[in-house]
C-alpha cells in the first residue's frame, strides 16, 4: 500500500503540479499551537509537511531552526509527545507527514519501537539528518517492515556513487540540499543547485524535492522547471517565531504568498520535471 507521501506525488504528477513541502519544528512554540500550525499549513496547500524533532545539538541547522528547537525543548517537547501530536493531527487531516530528526533521540527511543509507533500514530516516514547511507541499514529495515518512507539527503558534495546509494535507500522522494552549509534563508539561490539536480536524474526516477535557503516566491519560480517539489523551512519557522500569539494564521498567509512562485512560471505547468530533464 503506498504511503500518503507516495499518493501525494502521484496525484501531483497527474495534475502536472509541483509539491510545496513545509518544515516546522514540532512543538514550537508549544504543542497546541504547533498542531494548529500543521493544520493551517495543510489547509493552505502545503502538500507534504516535515515535522522536526528537536535535538540539543542540531549541527546541521542555522540559528532560526536552532532557536525553534530550543523553544520546543524548553517546553518539554519530546518524541512521545510528538507522536501523540501526530495522532491528534490525524483526527483532522490526511496531510502527508514526514518526521525529520537527528539520530540520537531515535536511537534512544529504539529503532524498532520508533518505526512501529510512527506508523501507529499515522506519520508516513522519516528523514534522519546525520544518518549516512553507510550506517542506515538497520533503520531502513525497520521502516520497510512498517511500510514507512525513508528519505535521504543528497548534497552538492555528494559523489555519483553516494547519490546512487541515497536514491536506492529512499522511498517517497529524494531530498536535494541546494548548497553546502546549514539550514537558513538566503536572498539568492546557490549556483550549485542546478548541476546537482542535473546529476540526480541519471540515478533516480523518484520525485526530487530541493531545500535549504528557499524563502521567496522567486526561488520557487526559478526552481520549478528543474524539480518536483521545493522545501521551505527556516522562513516558516521564522514566521512562527515572529508571530507566536497566532502562528497558524501567519504561516498560512506565507504559504499562499510563496506558492505564487509556482504560477509565476506557467511554462513549467503541465509537464513533469522528469520529462523536462530527459
Amino acid at each position: 500500500m503506498p504511503t500518503r507521501i507516495v499518493e501525494c506525488w502521484n496525484k501531483l504528477h497527474q495534475q502536472g503540479e509541483k509539491a510545496f513541502i513545509g518544515f516546522v519544528m514540532a512543538g514550537d512554540p508549544d504543542i497546541p499551537r504547533s498542531i494548529d500550525v500543521v493544520l493551517a499549513l495543510a489547509e493552505a496547500k502545503t502538500d507534504i509537511i516535515e515535522l522536526g524533532i528537536p535535538f540539543s545539538e542540531p549541527i546541521a541547522d542555522g540559528p532560526v531552526i536552532q532557536r525553534a528547537g530550543e523553544r520546543a525543548l524548553k517546553n518539554g517537547v519530546n518524541l512521545p509527545l510528538i507522536l501523540d501530536m501526530v495522532r491528534q493531527i490525524r483526527k483532522k487531516s490526511d496531510v502527508p507527514l514526514l518526521l525529520f530528526s537527528y539520530l540520537n533521540p531515535i536511537l534512544r527511543y529504539g529503532l524498532e519501537r520508533f518505526a512501529k509507533d510512527t506508523v501507529a500514530c499515522g506519520a508516513d516516514g522519516a528523514l534522519i539528518t546525520d544518518l549516512s547511507v553507510e550506517e542506515a541499514d538497520p533503520f531502513v529495515t525497520q521502516m520497510r517492515l512498517n511500510n514507512l518512507d525513508t528519505v535521504f539527503l543528497v548534497a552538492p558534495t555528494s559523489t555519483d556513487e553516494r547519490i546512487k546509494r541515497a536514491a536506492e535507500l529512499s522511498t517517497g522522494f529524494l531530498y536535494a540540499v541546494s548548497r553546502t552549509g546549514v539550514t537558513g534563508t538566503r536572498e539568492q539561490l546557490s549556483d550549485t543547485v542546478t548541476p546537482l539536480l542535473r546529476r540526480l536524474r541519471a540515478f533516480t526516477t523518484l520525485p526530487v524535492g530541493v531545500g535549504f535557503g528557499i524563502s521567496r516566491p522567486e526561488h520557487l519560480a526559478q526552481l520549478t522547471p528543474m524539480v518536483d517539489g521545493v522545501v521551505v523551512g527556516s522562513a516558516l519557522v521564522r514566521c512562527i517565531e515572529d508571530h507566536q500569539e497566532n502562528p497558524a494564521l501567519h504561516v498560512a498567509q506565507m504559504v499562499r504568498w510563496l506558492r505564487e512562485g509556482f504560477t509565476a512560471n506557467s511554462t513549467s505547468k503541465g509537464k513533469s520535471s522528469s520529462a523536462n530533464m530527459a
Binding site: 535535538f55 540539543s56 545539538e57 542540531p58 549541527i59 546541521a60 541547522d61 542555522g62 536552532q66 530550543e70 525543548l73 519530546n78 518524541l79 539520530l103 540520537n104 533521540p105 531515535i106 536511537l107 534512544r108 527511543y109 539528518t129 546525520d130 544518518l131 549516512s132 553507510e134 550506517e135 535521504f152 539527503l153 543528497v154 548534497a155 552538492p156 558534495t157 555528494s158 559523489t159 553516494r162 541515497a166 540540499v177 553546502t180 552549509g181 546549514v182
Partner: protein
C-alpha cells in the same frame, strides 16, 4: 558483545570502528569531505617524507621527546608506588595538544586548504591550533564557549596574539559541546577551502584514528624511557580523559602488554547527579554525538546533557569511541575524580615537586594519590598532559591561599 575486536592490532580503528563504537554519523554534505580526509590521511600515514617532516617539527619546534620524570618526593610522600610523570606539560604551548595539531596542519597543507577551523574547551587545543596556523600560514578561526572564554581568559588572549580569530559560542551550556557543534556548522558551510582541526579522539571517522596516531608518540617514548629507567614495564598507566587524546596517546603503545593496567580518569565534578559531572562511563550510555557512536551523557529522550567540571578540558558529554571499546573489554578501567580532589592534587604536586599541573591533568594526579599508597613495589606512569599556567585565575579563586 559479540564482536571481539583485535585491539592489539595495528589495524585497530582503520575502518572507523572500534568494536561497536565509532563510525561516521554526519550530515551528507560532510560525508564526501570526510572520505577525502580519510584517504589523504591514510596516504600520509605511511609516507616517509611526511613522517620525517612531522618528526622534525615535533623535535625542534615542539620540544620532543618530553622527559619521563621520577617524582621522588611525591612517591615518598604517598608511601607506595614509584610515580613517574610523562612531562607533556613541557611541550611548546603547554600541553600534548601540539602533537596532534602539527600532524593535522601538515596534512591540511598537503590537502591544499587555506583556512583552519578548530574548537576548544580549556583553550589548549585552540592555542595549539593558532600556533600551528601561524607557523604554517593558515587563516585560523577558533570556536569557544562563552563560559570557557571567561574561565580561560588568558588562553583567549594567547590565541588572538597568535593571529587567530576567537568566536564566542553562546548556545546551550556555552562550553566545549556547543563549540564543537558550531565548528561543524562552519565546516559544513566552508568545506571547500577549510580544514576542520578536531582536537581530540572524537567525531566521525577518521578523526579518532588520526588523532590517536598523532598522540601515540607519548606512549612510544614512555615505553622506551621506563625500560631505560626501571628495566621493566610499568604496572599502571594513569591519564585524565575528556575526549581522551592524551590517555589514548599514552595507552596505545602498551595495549599488547597484559601486565600493564590502565586507568582513565574522568571529571567527577560536584557529584553524581546528571549535569554535575562529565563521567560518561558512570552516568552515560551508548549514543551518537558529533559524528561517533560512543558513551555519552544523555537524558531518557536522547537529549545531550549538560556537564560540569572545574576543568574546561574534561567538561564534555562524549568520550572517544576507542575508550568506549577499551572500557567494555575491561582493558582499561575508567574512574572519576571530583573538582575538590583535582584541586587538592594540583596543590599537592605543586608543593611536592614544584610542578603546577593543568586542572585536567590534576584529575590523573588525584587518582594516583588514592591508589599509590596501597601499591608498594609498583611503578606508575602518569600523563602530565598540560601545565597549570592557564588555570591561575581558577586556582586563585578556589584554593584561597
Amino acid at each position: 558483545m559479540n564482536i571481539k575486536p583485535d585491539i592489539t592490532s595495528e589495524a585497530s580503528g582503520l575502518t572507523g570502528r572500534f568494536g561497536l563504537y565509532g563510525g561516521r554519523f554526519a550530515p551528507e554534505t560532510l560525508m564526501q569531505p570526510l572520505m577525502e580526509l580519510e584517504s589523504s590521511y591514510l596516504a600520509v600515514r605511511t609516507d616517509i617524507g611526511f613522517q620525517k617532516e612531522l618528526d622534525n617539527l615535533l623535535k625542534l619546534y615542539a620540544g620532543r621527546p618530553t622527559p619521563l620524570y621520577y617524582a621522588s618526593r611525591l612517591s615518598e610522600h604517598l608511601g607506595g608506588a614509584k610515580i613517574y610523570l610523562k612531562r607533556e606539560d613541557l611541550l611548546h604551548t603547554g600541553a600534548h595538544k601540539i602533537n596532534n595539531c602539527l600532524g593535522q596542519a601538515l596534512l591540511a597543507k598537503r590537502m591544499g586548504k587555506r583556512r583552519i577551523i578548530a574548537e576548544t574547551g580549556a583553550g589548549q587545543h585552540g592555542v595549539a591550533s593558532a600556533t600551528v596556523s601561524a607557523l604554517l600560514d593558515f587563516q585560523c578561526v577558533v570556536y569557544m564557549g562563552e563560559v570557557d572564554m571567561a574561565r580561560q581568559r588568558l588562553n583567549v588572549f594567547r590565541m588572538r596574539l597568535l593571529g587567530a580569530e576567537v568566536r564566542a559560542v553562546t548556545a546551550g551550556s556555552r562550553t566545549l559541546k556547543e563549540a564543537i557543534s558550531e565548528a561543524m556548522r562552519d565546516w559544513v558551510t566552508n568545506v571547500e577551502d577549510s580544514y576542520y582541526l578536531l582536537g581530540s579522539v572524537l567525531g566521525p571517522h577518521p578523526y579518532p584514528l588520526m588523532v590517536r596516531d598523532f598522540q601515540r608518540v607519548i606512549g612510544q617514548e614512555a615505553r622506551q624511557q621506563i625500560m631505560a629507567a626501571e628495566g621493566r614495564l610499568p604496572d599502571r598507566l594513569v591519564a585524565c580523559v575528556g575526549g581522551g587524546s592524551n590517555a589514548i596517546g599514552l595507552f596505545y603503545e602498551f595495549l599488547n602488554d597484559e601486565s600493564v593496567a590502565m586507568t582513565g580518569v574522568e571529571a567527577g565534578g560536584r557529584g553524581f547527579e546528571l549535569g554535575q559531572h562529565a563521567s560518561r562511563f558512570h552516568g552515560g550510555s551508548p549514543g551518537v554525538l558529533h559524528g561517533a557512536y560512543t558513551y555519552i551523557l544523555q537524558d531518557d529522550m536522547g537529549q545531550i546533557s549538560t556537564t560540569h567540571s572545574v576543568s574546561a578540558g574534561l567538561d564534555y558529554a562524549a568520550v572517544g569511541p576507542e575508550h568506549a571499546m577499551l572500557g567494555d573489554l575491561k582493558r582499561a578501567e575508567y574512574t572519576a575524580r571530583t573538582d575538590a580532589e583535582a584541586l587538592e592534587a594540583c596543590r599537592l604536586l605543586s608543593r611536592m615537586e614544584g610542578i603546577i599541573p593543568a586542572l585536567e591533568s590534576s584529575h590523573a594526579i588525584a587518582e594516583v594519590i588514592e591508589r599509590a599508597p596501597s601499591a608498594k613495589g609498583q611503578v606508575f606512569i602518569v600523563n602530565l598532559s598540560g601545565r597549570g599556567d592557564k588555570d591561575m585565575e581558577i586556582l586563585e579563586r578556589e584554593l584561597k591561599l
